[in-house]
Symmetry: C2
């Protein structure tokens, strides 16, 4: 079954970006938010996003997608015809609990209902929902219309069919889904990101290097491979005998390094203030919107380059 | 003082790539290895590297650089006029100890002598060297002529002037140096890489996801930002109040995640065999040289894209 009609509930940065994801892939989108001002701002931002995608060469016809997005007058109208619901409300447990109870009551019996939550495990707000078998987490990376990864995480009672339909929808609209088989704090992406960030805090906090050095290790080192091959393939290609040779040859060094990591290094007020000052000296807080727009243009350009290279080289 | 004449000692994969780094930037390079067969293979590979750089649009005149590389008949001749020595011999403590004693005796008094070691701290093989004040580690990422990061790590007795001259040389030849102020196992890059890889092993080992999922989290998620902004700037741009706001807002979630990481997860034989099988199903070991060449073309293309984007956008 093709999921044709999508309800995006919550029109903040994440919710409006989801609307772009679905509409640019030809899906009908109903957007709703309890705040009329948020909806108005979201529509303006969505228009900019479509124009930016077009300018970056990532979308031929921005008007077509834009025409598929409607603002719903209320939650009931937003959900009435939905095949799939993407909730992107506040990251507050009681808000999610109340909203999922309502959405489950209002959405068609067949609809999948997914939460964008990054911080709250689905089981914490889904247990009491009568239709909890059709509910799950589909965690995007911000902003989802630029970064394709989606972490699909079922709760213990989620129907495997709801997982399969969500995965198929995400693939159909051009996202890159992974299924997290069991609930883990931070799913996969934030666990990997914060493992690296925790050790980075340790290295800066203990005076081994500066924050700018850490950024350089990524941009001039690690990410030049990770942009197109992940850490396991990096290892597979770094030893003549493949991944088994990589782990075999480096076992001792890796064990020594991993035994001395401090990925739970506490982000003390003093250290955070020092790091913030170092970053703010390069990019003052009042200039962050410009720098964010720059980052988004760079992500679009990078994805276009990577897509072209994949198509050219196979 | 400009370091004009470079000795590259050891002509394996790392040593020959260093020769390309220095020669393409106009430095005179003397290459030496105890094995004549290794030197012959290195010269052939260096010619291919120059041709590949030219084909990728990263180098105008491949012949100019090639003409600056000479094979030295012995260690003494290689070092005789050196301003800077880059050692890339076997990662064996006794080999490094013997070689540094010889190099220190033969190199001009003013020369800096650097080791490419990734696994052995400089202090372990430099302590007894009479000229140890001019010795340090300059750890590249493989292959250095494609990946610019260089980790400069002084031993406790290294003269700050040797550090400063090494950093200036690396910048002058287009590499991206960072200085690691104190010795740490794995320096910076492998600590960050293996923090992430250790948690990835944990996630796959405990059945949360597959190795392919982890690779996807990087290529379709994290690395789309890390290719041009590091983890601290990612945080700075992810909160309206900058990095301080990022750590403030996520403190609880981050602490919960970091408290449950297992970055020292043991790479059991069974798990490594399973991961190897998964990777080898996609890229069999006998096809790895082709895949490595593909990776290198991708790195060159990516760097060219990133360089162009930086020049165009500022």
């Amino acid at each position: 079954m093709i999921l044709e009609t999508i309800a995006c509930i919550g029109a903040g940065n994440v919710g409006r970006s989801w609307a772009v994801v679905f509409a640019r892939a030809g899906r009908r989108v109903f957007l709703w938010d309890p705040s009329p001002a948020a909806l108005e701002a979201a529509l303006a931002a969505i228009e900019v996003s479509f124009a930016d995608l077009h300018a970056a060469g990532l979308l031929d016809d921005p008007q077509a997608g834009l025409g598929l997005i409607s603002v719903a007058p209320n939650l009931e109208a937003a959900l009435g015809k939905a095949d799939y619901v993407q909730e992107s409300a506040l990251e507050v447990l009681s808000v999610k609990q109340a909203l999922f109870a309502k959405m489950d009551a209002l959405a068609p019996a067949n609809a999948v209902i997914a939460s964008s939550t990054s911080a709250i495990p689905g089981s914490a707000f889904l247990e009491e929902v009568p239709g909890r078998a059709r509910c799950l987490v589909a965690h995007p990376v911000n902003p989802p219309h630029l970064i394709p990864l989606v972490e699909i995480c079922p709760a213990p009672w989620t129907d495997p069919d709801a997982v399969a339909r969500t995965r198929a929808l995400m693939e159909a609209v051009g996202q890159a889904p992974v299924v997290v088989e069991k609930e883990a704090p931070g799913f996969l992406l934030n666990r990997l990101q914060w493992a690296l960030l925790g050790e980075a805090m340790h290295l800066v906090g203990e005076g081994y290097c500066t924050a700018e050095d850490i950024d350089r290790v990524l941009t001039q080192g690690l990410a030049l491979r990770w942009a197109f091959i992940g850490p396991f393939e990096v290892g597979h290609l770094n030893a003549a005998a493949g991944l088994a040779g990589y782990f075999g040859g480096l076992a001792e060094a890796m064990s020594r390094v991993q035994g001395s990591l401090r990925t739970d290094y506490p982000p003390s007020e003093e250290l955070v203030a020092k790091l913030h000052a170092e970053l703010a000296a390069r990019h003052p807080v009042e200039t962050l919107p410009d720098r964010q727009a720059w980052r988004d243009r760079r992500i679009m350009g990078l994805r276009r380059y990577l897509d072209d290279a994949a198509r050219d080289e196979g």
